[in-house]
């Protein structure tokens, strides 16, 4: 009986050691994140955001689709997913990509399939944000637009499936452009610097640190199966506790007998 107990104790001890080593790293993560979560309202650091790009990539905070850029008069107009960006800064939302950017009078006109914006790009030295002066939707445009240009007479011209149309100086009325010569806006490759600027704007403030902490604690940070893995380690911890208690109990019994 004593030999059986000794064998059992040794087996339990071996299992206990193995499980302990396996769970050690997870225990460290769970304990430290748990303590942090208990006091998250008091820890200023946790009130901020994470903008580490590999983590944002991991979370899927990345745009789908390509960046499309047009340049005019030294300014860059780009669209990425559902955003319009002027000179690398977020301007407004859109439901379709840009089809052109042209200078119009002293402003910039940006056009998508069913919207046109007139903006005052403002000198880059001022802190004032870019001002949208006017925006036209399908009620004020011969949609859908396929391209944007400017005639030799400085008229704004849009191309549509049913022909080209030009507008008056007030952008209020459109009429067929006829055979007027037009310089059409064409897309151009974006520089790496612009891509990074737009991506930074797209990603905004990043992820709240509290969110990342909670996901680390729950296992969600590694995806849908993460919580199940944490549950599995919880079972391992339970087994650790049980094997440890049983082993300790057997050891106490042996000491009492001796």
């Amino acid at each position: 009986m004593q030999r059986l107990n000794l064998k059992l104790r040794r087996s339990l001890a071996a299992i206990h050691h193995f499980l302990g080593q396996a769970a050690a790293a997870i225990v460290v993560i769970l304990a430290s994140t748990g303590i942090a979560m208990n006091h998250e309202d008091d820890i200023d650091y946790l009130k901020g955001s994470v903008r580490w790009e590999p983590l944002l990539d991991w979370y899927g905070v990345a745009p789908k689709g390509d960046l499309i850029q047009f340049t005019s008069d030294g300014h860059s107009g780009a669209s990425l997913e559902r955003g319009i960006y002027l000179d690398g800064r977020y301007l407004t939302a859109t439901e379709s990509p840009l089809v052109g950017v042209v200078r119009f009078q002293r402003f910039l006109a940006l056009a998508a399939r069913d919207r046109l914006w007139l903006v005052d790009p403002a000198p880059s030295l001022t802190a004032e944000p870019v001002r949208i002066l006017d925006q036209l939707d399908s009620a004020s445009l011969p949609v859908p637009l396929t391209r944007l240009g400017r005639s030799r007479n400085e008229e704004l011209v849009v191309g549509t499936g049913s022909g080209d149309y030009k507008t008056d100086a007030d952008l209020l009325n459109w009429e067929p452009a006829g055979s007027v010569a037009v310089t059409w806006s064409t897309a151009s490759p974006a520089s790496e610097e612009l891509r990074k600027a737009v991506l930074r704007e797209f990603r905004g403030d990043g992820l709240p640190r509290k969110r990342v902490l909670a996901d680390l604690h729950s296992g969600r940070i590694i995806g849908g199966r993460g919580p199940w893995l944490i549950d599995a380690f919880a079972v391992i911890l339970l087994l650790l506790a049980v094997t440890g208690l049983v082993s300790a109990g057997l050891g106490r019994g042996r000491r009492n007998r001796s």
Binding site: I132, D134, L136, D137, S140, V143
Partner: protein, 180 residues
């Protein structure tokens, strides 16, 4: 078995909330409908000076532009206006006649929830509404549970259309009084 699984996947996709915009009516169609198919030429009003102050007091923020375009015939005007609900803009069409809302409709809804505001049981509350001297609506609007922000956005736009219509009316009256 494969077909069954595929059917389940398709159904799940349909059931998931969508982030795509729901277009209930094109802006051009709304304006045409407002004037029985005889769409007048577009006009624009500049949101500057006193009007800018009033507009900002209605919206609670600066207007997203320097001018607003509208269509008008006689004492009726039609407006296509956007306002953020929770995070996305809601596009509303509003027809104002003799200083009161004659028609109001959700044209495009982009939020993931709250689109119940487009139904007549909600929108009809605005019919006949006007604004007082402090640009408040002259009636209470019953909200919709789960669509509070969309309801508020719709109310702001209704007020905005009425304020802008007042301004257009005042401008026209001033122009006519100066005419020889």
């Amino acid at each position: 078995m494969t077909r069954f699984v595929l059917a389940i996947l398709v159904a799940a996709t349909i059931a998931l909330p969508s982030n795509a915009a729901e277009v209930y009516q094109a802006s051009a169609a709304f304006v045409a409908e407002a004037f029985d198919g005889r769409r007048p030429a577009a006009k624009a009003i500049w949101v500057t000076g006193d009007l800018q102050v009033r507009v900002e007091s209605v919206l609670g923020h600066a207007y997203g532009g320097l001018r607003v375009r509208y269509w008008a015939l006689g004492d009726r005007s039609a407006w296509i206006l956007d306002e953020i609900g929770k995070v996305e803009p809601i596009t509303l069409g509003v027809v104002v006649a003799q200083g009161h809302i004659e028609a109001i409709k959700v044209l495009t809804y982009r939020e993931s929830r709250g689109s119940e505001i487009r139904f007549p049981f909600f929108m009809d509350q605005y019919r006949g509404a006007g604004v007082d001297s402090e640009t408040r609506l002259d009636r209470n609007i019953d909200g919709i549970s789960g669509a509070t922000l969309s309801v508020r956005a719709a109310t702001r736009l209704a007020r905005l259309a009425l304020v802008l219509d007042q301004e257009v009316g005042q401008t026209n009256a001033a122009t006519q009084s100066k005419a020889p």
